[in-house]
């Protein structure tokens, strides 16, 4: 499997660390309540098909990436920097 890092270009899967659903980007407020936190930390859509997940280019540039991917075909549809998704532009 290969992912195209926006910084480094196409790289082998062995350079990346995986953390799971990109829901991780949407951290609830501390007082959002049990259900919101349960949904954030534990519950997953876990789709058989297109999904968005978070990868870390650990052996490369150190960027966290949001990857849009198909869990059935392993096709990679899009890779963007997580910091861009979070709207952290200067």
């Amino acid at each position: 499997m290969r992912l195209t890092c926006p910084q480094c270009g196409e790289r082998d899967r062995r350079e990346f660390y995986y953390v799971g659903d990109a829901v991780a980007l949407e951290r609830p407020a501390p007082d959002a309540g049990d259900e919101a936190w349960e949904a954030y930390v534990h519950l997953r859509d876990n789709p058989a098909g297109e999904t968005r997940d978070l990868w870390y280019h650990e052996a490369g540039c150190g960027a966290w990436l949001v990857v849009t991917r198909n869990t059935v075909t392993h096709a990679v549809l899009d890779v963007v920097l997580a910091s861009d998704v979070k709207g952290g532009g200067a």
Partner: protein
Amino acid sequence: MAELIAKSPCDGLLPVEIGGVTLREVDLGHLTALAPHRGKEKSFAEAMKAAHGLTLPKPGRATGKDGKRLIWFGRAHVLLAGPAPAARLLSHAAVTDQSDAWAALRIEGEGVEDVLARLVPIDLRQQVFKRGHTARTQLQHMNVSITRLGDDAFMILGFRSMATTLVHELETAMSGVAARRAG
């Protein structure tokens, strides 16, 4: 009074030459990691140009030359190799001394691409990875920085503590390639 004696990371391990490929340790001078402060990317680039005459490299590129080089070092960092960082950079970037953190190797000779192809999971062939190209990637199980210095020459930076393994892996690959070329 005794003095502290400096030891290089590959002390006693190098140089080696196998089948026309040589591997030696190089002293790059100061190594400084620089991460521009938020919103100061542009002023940092200007300060760097003014202080050291170096252009800020794009991702995957290195600027400058032997003795004074600026190497893209990851999402947030560039690595200044050679001069001590000018004080004026401090107001534009996080400045961290890395002079002792990395083992710096130069590997060169005909067949060096074949040697690295045994260890590095990226395409380092001349037509793709040209002089001035650099990458953060892996070498066997280690995270490294690789920069092409010339047609048959690369610079490899690896963790200081892993220098023994780094040299061992490269030597093994060099002897395997040499044996094939001999045949």
